[in-house]
């Protein structure tokens, strides 16, 4: 039997164009007569604008227009927040495309220059005169929530964007009765996504027809079109949004941005195409950041290792304004997942979303779940230490037992399927856990500090269903759609609403089609990222595109298979009930020679010379798939580190990722997603941190200061898996885009703390810079 294409690690069809530099990104779009925009951004994190003079800039060579707040009045509505968290006293601050009177972070736009080329636009920025009166600033969410803190928005007291609570069971009683309580304060430092491709927009507006085309580097072009109609007033039917090649997003290309709408405004007002591409510096100071939590967590348990309760308070920095999806990240995608892989009877969490004089915070790979996984997995380790048990044994003792079809957590979720103990066992067998612990003890005798970190995680992704989206205030649906069109020769076009941007789904989607109907994957072309040619989709984030979009696609192909079977039966003069299908061929049961291939049927369906009664010509179908539940991938990760206690440098020597994302369509792509995800999480543990100074100036605002992980500092990542299908997904799949990041930060964190335990080090803030580790060691020695 031929190898099944579903499950085959074929090469990504995207790669030849990406690797040879022939792919087209937004910045590669060049149109006749095109102008270039540049944004003047506030150098102050908080200030009153007392005067702006654009005269010199407007008169500079090549400058076509300079716009300030007054020019967009009435023409551009505020940037909307689209996750209106219910029952949280949510207060959405007005987010103007150009700051009016007050600037609230150092990326706030004060003016826009449009010029014949980018150099002239940059020159003119320097000629705009702005007088500012600085105001007091605050950049960390806990300080901003205190009384007396500088206030960002006059109508929002205490800088509080929302207060959200999740509660299940009786946590307070659990703590009253607890034999053991462990507490920890965790800083989920602010991170900067650093997609390889900067944000960019090209807008072309036909003043005669009122039609707009917007090329935009986005994870969700249909949402951009939707919100663009709200902000710029260009109706959806006259707006085409194209996300060409998108060079990574990691969440930062979910939201809509002032710069994109201003580009549209400029093109519409001037009547010439306008391009805006952010500089890398703007990528730091004006593209959304991630994380930024201060978490106070406590765990209640028994002396013999049973977890009885979890209580936490989180101050989540939201930045100066609420980005498009921001309120849902530290709440729905975070608080609901606090139970992790464990049967915890009582959980309570308070989350305060706080405005600060910083870049707005959005989803960043994992979006809420890394912060939740970190809490529970860190506390499990601390609990184990406190009661003198091996952290592995504590995990085993509290695991939700294997389940195939639904497990309800105390936070109100129903996990789909999982076998957490099996994942842990397989990962520990692979690393030889007992041996590792022996090696660790031997190393310590030689004054070498080796640490082992183990994480069992479960995460929520495949975002849907829409009914839940509505209930949690998400201002959109969470279904996905697909249109599959056969051509007369049996070649296939797929039009899909999802918008992959580096995840390789042009390949995996083709594999789904090939698997469902027996065509060669090379005969399947995938169209995505263009609102004029694809059906509506809600975007690629929350590891949902394969789970939801892929399911929509599979169901669509099944519709075609059903129709093809009817046509084949008719052509073979057989009853439909007597037809069988295998590998792209329909045949009469018991007589394999009486058969029609899908290509035969496609041709006959198009010729339509001899169609069954009541069956339309053509071979095409569409599906709008709204999933019945989220999917819940899980796994166990193991990290081994060695700490140089003289300098504080951490060396990650081994990393094992065991992930269960259900059946894998393309294991090579899965491994790639795991690699990238794990590395981004390692970045948070060891390297990355957005640092604001006392004036809320971003002082880690370039690649000279902001350390990203690089290949030469990493071990080979050992990728393993178990396979547990999701019971509700038509092809059984779960997501894998974020799993690596969700697990790896705390895995590495726990490993480093394990290494430092013999020295008496109790707590170190991330990232583990050598100085932080060294200081923690000095302090522990001193005490």
């Amino acid at each position: 039997m031929a190898t099944r294409i579903f499950g085959s690690g074929i090469r990504r069809r995207e790669d030849p164009r990406l690797l040879t530099g022939t792919a087209t990104y937004t910045d590669d779009i060049t149109l006749p007569d095109m102008l270039h925009a540049a944004m003047l951004r506030s150098p102050y994190a908080h200030a009153t604008i007392t005067r702006i003079d654009t005269g010199k800039a407007a008169a500079a060579p090549g400058v076509v227009a300079v716009y300030t707040s007054a020019d967009i009045e009435g023409a551009l509505q505020p940037v909307p927040c689209a996750w209106l968290l219910p029952d949280s006293d949510l207060k959405v601050a007005g987010y103007p495309c150009i700051a009016k009177d007050v600037v609230r972070y150092t990326g706030d736009i004060v003016a826009v220059v449009v010029a014949e080329n980018r150099y002239q636009a940059a020159d003119a920025l320097d000629l705009i005169e702005v007088d500012y009166e600085p105001l007091p600033t605050v950049s960390d969410p806990e300080s901003a929530a205190k009384s007396g803190a500088p206030q960002l928005h006059s109508d929002i007291p205490g800088n509080q964007a929302f207060h959200w609570v999740v509660s299940g069971g009786d946590a307070d009683t659990a703590f009253e009765n607890a034999e053991v309580v462990v507490k920890e304060r965790i800083r989920q430092q602010r991170l900067i996504p650093n997609a390889m491709e900067p944000r960019a927009a090209v807008a072309q507006y036909n003043q005669a027809t009122g039609e707009l085309t917007l090329w935009n580097t986005t994870q969700n072009p249909h949402i951009v079109r939707f919100l663009n109609s709200v902000v710029t007033g260009v109706p959806e039917d006259k707006c085409r949004v194209i996300a060409p090649e998108v060079g990574g997003g990691f969440g930062s290309k979910i939201p809509v941005y002032p710069g994109d709408f201003l580009t549209v405004f400029c093109a519409k007002t001037i009547g010439r195409p306008v391009k805006w591409t952010e500089t890398r510096s703007e990528g730091y100071t004006a593209t959304t950041h991630g994380r930024d939590h201060i978490q106070d967590v406590e765990l209640a348990g028994t002396r013999d290792g049973k977890i009885t309760g979890l209580r936490c308070t989180v101050h989540a920095g939201m930045g100066a304004y609420l980005s498009t999806a921001a309120p849902g990240i530290p709440t729905i995608l975070h608080g609901l997942m606090l139970s992790g892989c464990y049967a915890i009877p009582a959980i309570k969490e308070d989350v305060y979303g706080i405005y600060t004089n910083t870049v707005p915070v959005e989803a960043y790979r994992g979006a809420g779940r890394p912060e939740a996984t970190f809490m529970i997995e860190r506390l499990v380790d601390l609990f184990a230490t406190e009661i003198g048990m091996d952290p592995v044994d504590v995990r085993r003792k509290n695991f939700i037992p294997r389940f195939e079809n639904g497990h309800d957590t105390v936070t109100g979720l129903t996990y789909d399927s999982g076998d957490y103990p099996a994942a842990l066992t397989k990962a520990l067998d692979h690393v030889g856990y007992a041996g590792l612990r022996k090696d660790q003890a031997n190393a310590l005798e030689n004054n070498r500090y080796v640490g082992i970190g183990i994480t069992s995680y479960v995460e929520i992704c495949g975002l849907g269903p829409s009914q839940v989206a509505g209930a949690i205030g998400f201002q959109g649906g969470l279904w996905e759609s697909a249109i599959v069109r056969f051509h007369p020769t049996g070649k296939v076009h797929v039009f899909i609403g999802a918008s992959p941007h580096g995840q390789g789904e042009e390949t995996t989607f083709a594999q789904i089609v090939a698997d469902e109907i027996g065509v060669d994957p090379n005969d399947v072309k995938i169209f995505h990222g263009d609102t004029d040619t694809t059906p509506m989709g809600w975007g690629t984030y929350g590891s949902r595109t394969t789970a939801v979009g892929g399911a929509a696609l599979a169901l669509t192909v099944r519709k075609i298979r059903d129709k093809a079977k009817v046509i084949a039966a008719h052509l073979l003069e057989a009853a439909v009930a007597d037809m069988e299908y295998e590998n792209g061929t329909f045949f009469v049961k018991g007589s394999a020679d009486k058969s029609k291939t899908i290509q035969d049927v496609a041709l006959m369906a198009h010729l339509a010379w001899n169609m069954p009664e009541g069956v339309e010509a053509g071979l095409e179908a569409s599906t709008f798939y709204d999933p019945p539940n989220f999917v819940f991938p899980y796994g166990t990760h193991v990290a081994v580190v060695e700490v140089d206690i003289e300098t504080g440098q951490v060396n990650l020597t081994r990393y094992v990722a065991l992930d269960d994302c259900g059946p894998q369509i393309n294991p090579t792509i899965v491994a790639g997603q795991v690699h990238g995800g794990v590395v981004q999480g390692i970045g948070q543990a060891l390297l990355e941190e957005a640092v604001y100074d006392e004036n809320a100036q971003l002082i880690s605002g370039s690649m000279l200061d902001y350390a990203l992980p690089r290949a030469d500092g990493l071990p080979d990542i050992e990728v393993l898996s178990t396979v547990t299908p999701s019971p509700h997904n038509p092809i059984g799949v779960k997501g894998i885009g974020e799993a690596g990041t969700i697990a790896s930060t705390v895995t590495v964190y726990n490993a480093v703390m394990d290494a430092l335990r013999p020295l008496g080090v109790k707590q170190v803030d991330m990232p583990f810079t050598p100085e932080r580790v060294w200081r923690a060691i000095q302090e522990a020695k001193g005490s």
Partner: protein, 290 residues
């Protein structure tokens, strides 16, 4: 990210470069571009004139005479890192060049640009000071030679005059029993040296007859660690002797307020762990000497 306007000239020879420098006051020289171009793009440098010396053939290449390894200032870090001559005669220089930035930087960046720019976190100045190197300079008044220990004067400050051009970097070839090494605490983002230590030791009859240790990264310009050097000369270089000598480096680093620090590593921390990097450089140098 978009440089301001400037006039661009390409010099075909040292003489022509000198003439262009005389003619265009305040002009900046462009070699590999890895120091100047980032400054231009951020508009931290806004020169009226840029003189491209990157194609002057007489400034390229590595030659060895009896006592001197001569490196042309336009020689790239990558060329230095893989040069058998450099490895043989000035091991620490090859070692340091191979740790600069990343392959793309090493393939374009030049030793001359690096030395003239004099970034305190740069690797090569530290090594050149330990190896007793000197630079050849062509100026309006003729040519002259400057010892590297005199050349580097502070943060991005050198003995080069307005219209001077570097013409050579001269390193004494390693003598019998001499070994050198470079130990680097690399910044994880920039790959510049948080602390860089170059050490050269000469062993004669099992004892250290000469030692030179230079420290960079933590100080505005490389400093020679005289206390460490003195503690080594005449000794058998055991681990204990090396560790004890390295511990003396604190006294050579200068005043606390002059030490460099940043959000990644404070001056205080750098000072505290510098002895460890001195010890590591010395251990390797001693092994290579022996």
């Amino acid at each position: 990210m978009f440089a301001a306007d400037f006039e661009y000239y390409r010099a075909g020879s040292v003489t022509e470069a000198g003439d262009l420098l005389q003619k265009h006051s305040g002009a900046k020289l462009l070699a590999g571009g890895h120091s100047l171009i980032p400054l231009l793009k951020l508009r931290l440098a806004v020169p009226e004139t840029v003189i491209d010396i990157g194609r002057i053939a007489e400034l390229k290449g590595i030659t060895v005479s009896d006592s001197t390894l001569r490196v042309g200032p336009l020689t790239t870090h990558a060329e230095i890192a893989v040069s058998a001559d450099v490895r043989k005669h000035a091991h620490a220089l090859a070692e340091a060049a191979g740790q600069i930035g990343d392959p793309a930087v090493r393939n374009r960046g030049t030793i001359g640009g690096n030395v003239a720019h004099a970034d305190p976190a740069s690797d090569l100045p530290t090594v050149l000071c330990a190896l007793g190197a000197s630079v050849g300079v062509q100026g309006p008044g003729g040519s002259r030679t400057i010892a590297c220990t005199d050349f580097f004067q502070g943060v991005m400050t050198t003995a080069l005059g307005e219209n001077d051009l570097l013409t050579s970097i001269d390193v004494p070839v390693a003598g019998r029993g001499q070994g050198s090494a470079y130990a680097k605490f690399s910044h994880p983002a920039s790959r510049y040296a948080v602390i860089g230590v170059a050490a050269s030791v000469t062993l004669d009859g099992g004892r250290c007859s000469a030692a030179a240790v230079s420290v960079g990264g933590v100080v505005p310009a490389p400093v020679r660690a005289g206390s460490v050097e003195q503690a080594l000369v005449g000794q058998v270089l055991s681990d204990e002797v090396i560790a004890a000598a390295a511990g003396a480096v604190g006294g050579d680093l200068g005043a606390d307020e002059d030490l460099l620090g940043d959000i990644f590593a404070s001056a205080d921390y750098r000072r505290s762990v510098t002895p460890i990097w001195v010890r590591r450089a010395l251990a390797v140098a001693a092994e290579r000497a022996g």
